[in-house]
């Protein structure tokens, strides 16, 4: 008999792998990608393909240069590419998209050790880098593609910046338009319907837990109402849906367990509304998630799960 394999238990392994989780995320993002092409036309597809291709290439080259095992196959770079594209305006110069992809993969992901090691969400941070590097093109919003018109796309404000700068409280937002996404904004953030379909798919497939999205959205709604804003508008406008379902749930940069996830999501929600209400930026989702990413280790340090049956630690020093 050949020598037997001796290894530590368990001798069984589940079927989930990093690769098929990432594939599920890609499937979950597909409705949003399709919606973006329908809403903004074929140029949206160009932006998405540019971002995916440059992310994959950046990952491949950086692993080669660093002489590390190749990780393109886990598909996480494809997810980053799609998420970045969905966070860009359709009129973006493709070279800027490439710049963003390289920043996301090389600087934010690979320089910190690759998958599982980045401390902030690569796609979101790349968006922030692009916003600060190229403020004008990054906020050049195009109205939804008008299939009946022959002229070039019309420049417009996003509903959120409209609310902020035009300051026209009388013009009630059209919720239906917000829900379907037929308005100005980034590629993937406009169509709430498509994002919710993708998010529900991920929850059903148990790729993400509903804890973060539900808490995040609920916090935004409650806090928005408290400040006298329009909660439904706040939920549907801007990048909130995309952020709540696909960005805040990023494994690497969000907490590992239930209680810390609740704190994380509440923090995201509060920051989002604070930025929208008091900040000079029209949109607060990217910053709020990235800020909460940064304090995730801190949350995990203070909000700990208690081991099975372990008695509660008594706080305070008692009679000293």
């Amino acid at each position: 008999m050949e020598k037997l394999i001796v290894s530590s238990s368990p001798h069984f392994n589940g079927k989930k792998t990093t690769q098929n989780i990432m594939l599920d995320v890609i499937i979950g993002l597909t409705p949003a990608m399709i919606a973006s092409v329908i809403i903004f036309g074929i140029r949206a597809a160009v932006v998405i393909i540019t971002c995916i291709a440059s992310c994959v290439l950046s990952e491949y080259i950086s692993r080669r240069v660093m002489k590390r095992p190749q990780t393109v196959g886990d598909l996480s770079c494809v997810v980053t590419g799609i998420l970045l594209a969905l966070n860009l305006p359709v009129t973006i110069n493709p070279l800027m998209a490439v710049f963003g992809s390289v920043a996301a993969i090389v600087v934010i992901k690979q320089m910190f050790g690759g998958i599982g090691q980045n401390f902030v969400n690569p796609a979101l941070t790349a968006r922030i880098i692009l916003m600060n590097s190229f403020p004008a093109p990054m906020t050049h919003w195009t109205a939804a593609f008008d299939y009946s018109a022959t002229a070039d796309a019309v420049t417009t404000a996003t509903p959120l910046s409209g609310m902020m700068y035009v300051n026209s409280p009388n013009s009630a937002p059209d919720y239906w338009q917000l829900f379907l996404g037929t308005h100005g904004g980034c590629l993937g953030e406009t169509c709430a319907l498509a994002i919710i379909i993708g998010g529900v798919y991920l929850i059903i497939r148990k790729v993400i837990s509903p804890v973060i999205p539900v808490t995040y959205l609920a916090t935004v709604a409650v806090f928005s109402a408290l400040l006298g804003r329009d909660p439904l508008f706040d939920l549907l406008a801007g990048g909130l849906m995309l952020g709540a379902f696909f960005m805040a749930t990023d494994y690497t940069t969000s907490p590992l367990y239930f209680r810390a996830r609740i704190v994380f999501a509440i923090g995201c929600g509060v920051l989002t509304i604070l930025i929208r209400e008091f900040g000079s930026l029209p949109e607060g989702v990217s910053y709020s998630i990235v800020l909460m990413n940064i304090i995730t280790p801190l949350i995990e340090r203070y909000v700990k799960p208690r081991a099975f049956g372990k008695p509660k630690e008594k706080k305070g020093k008692g009679a000293a």
């Binding site: 394999i5 368990p10 069984f12 837990s209 494994y251 367990y257």
Partner: protein, 446 residues
């Protein structure tokens, strides 16, 4: 009186492991006397026994061949009649060398003439003594001497007896067959233990993937003569690994949590495996100590998977041969189930008291999976029934950070394997935790 739960209590985590209960439907076969048995002196948790026979001695079935005065220790008996061939050292699964008595069988299976039914047991003390005399250890896999468990300190009040028929490990069906073939015996044992320990709530906990066991045991437990107050009932558990782990089982049956470092007795529970309780009943009837064990022989490399009742000490090779031999080259042989079983180095090793299964896998199933980077998905945390953070334990182990390991309650881990099973990156979390535990133990000794 304690109330009986209608449904099991919620437990944390667990893993949806495949069941592979291929052998539940066939009656157990009885192995003919093997030519030779190897009886190691360490078949339990605790102090090893010292051989009480010497080379050339004639032994009978049920005769003591090893014992020790230590409290945490169970005597070991000859499982065949014949002549002691030699006393040598054998390498056991844990990697330790242990003395073993090797007996050449005369094929007669002649019982020790001094064996007689013990006098009726009246007190707790007598019950514990009988368990020790019988050489009984936890037959569910741990091998903890039963008399230690039954010797409940006076201050601790046991109000619930839990009979473990969860059998949550994939493949293993030996408890399943025990329930179907020896159901009456099981109930006899339960009534006896219940009476002696003065417990008025007995829960027979069965995973709901064994409806036939639930039906059969419910039928015989419903006995108005022996149990007029209906104090023995069957509780169907959710089929989710690891329902049969002691702490998880206590929680599922009573909602009580056993704190780290404590025993089920601290929350008023006593857990006994079905095979142990059934054996106690037959010991009280016949006085024959533990010499036989029902084991599930299965796995992709076994020709005719089935349950076999074998004399303890029979080389695995002989049992596999009895099951038609290997149908393909075995690459991995496990003692126990695939989640917590131990991979062994050779099929010459003997069957031990606490073995409930031998699984032999071919190359395809023995294949090692690839390990990639942790993506912090939190699946291990969600899967841990002990509510620990396996990925953090792994990282602290890599850094040899004993303080962090202790803060993360590493010693609470029972190595059930749910974390590693759930890990999409295929990380060897249990292996890392075992290493981490050894760091903590070493640091504690300094």
């Amino acid at each position: 009186m304690q109330e009986f739960p209608k449904h099991p209590f919620r437990t944390h985590g667990g893993a949806p492991v495949p069941h592979h209960k291929n052998t539940w439907n066939a009656p157990s076969a009885v192995l003919p006397p093997p030519e030779r048995v190897i009886i190691p002196m360490q078949q339990h948790i605790g102090a090893p026994c010292k051989p009480t026979v010497k080379k050339g001695d004639h032994v009978y079935v049920g005769q003591v061949v090893g014992d020790n005065d230590a409290f945490v220790c169970a005597p070991i008996h000859a499982s065949v009649s014949g002549t002691v061939n030699s006393i040598t050292k054998v390498l056991l699964t844990g990697g330790q060398m242990t003395e073993a008595v090797i007996i050449d069988s005369d094929g007669q299976m002649e019982p020790d003439p001094s064996i007689a039914p013990p006098p009726p047991i009246k007190s707790k003390k007598e019950l514990a003594d009988a368990a020790r005399k019988a050489g009984l250890v936890g037959l569910g896999g741990a091998g903890f001497p039963a008399h230690v468990k039954l010797n409940v300190p006076d201050g601790k009040n046991i109000d619930t007896l839990i009979i473990n028929v969860a059998e949550c490990e994939p493949y293993v069906t030996s408890d399943h067959r025990e329930a179907l073939e020896n159901g009456k015996n099981v109930l006899d044992g339960i009534y006896k233990v219940k009476e002696i320990l003065d417990v008025h709530r007995v829960l027979i906990a069965v995973e709901d993937n064994k409806p036939d066991v639930i039906q059969k045991l419910t039928e015989i437990a419903d006995d108005p003569q022996k149990d007029p107050k209906d104090e023995v009932r069957v509780l169907a558990l959710k089929s989710r690994y690891p329902q049969g782990a002691e702490k998880v089982l206590v929680q599922a049956c009573t909602g009580r949590k056993v704190a780290p470092g404590q025993l089920p007795a601290d929350v008023g529970c006593l857990v006994m495996n079905i095979a142990s309780v059934s054996f106690l009943a037959s010991f009280m009837r016949t006085g024959m100590p533990l010499t036989l064990k029902r084991v599930t022989i299965d796995g992709s490399a076994i020709k005719n998977p089935q349950n076999v009742i074998v004399p303890i000490g029979t080389p695995i090779k002989d049992v596999v041969e009895f099951c038609g031999g290997y149908k393909s080259e075995p690459r991995k042989i496990l003692m126990g189930g695939p989640m917590m079983g131990i991979a062994i180095t050779s099929d010459e090793l003997p069957i031990l008291k606490q073995n409930n299964a031998i699984l032999a896998f071919d190359a395809r199933e023995a294949q090692q999976y690839e390990t990639t980077a942790c993506i912090r998905c939190g699946r291990c945390v969600a899967a841990c029934p002990m509510e620990l953070m396996p990925t953090k334990l792994e990282k602290a182990t890599e850094k040899k950070d004993v303080e962090a390991l202790q803060e993360l309650d590493i010693m609470t881990c029972m190595e059930c394997g749910c974390c590693a099973f759930s890990c999409p990156a295929g990380r060897r979390l249990v292996q890392a935790i075992r290493l981490g535990k050894s760091y903590v133990r070493k640091a504690g000794k300094k």
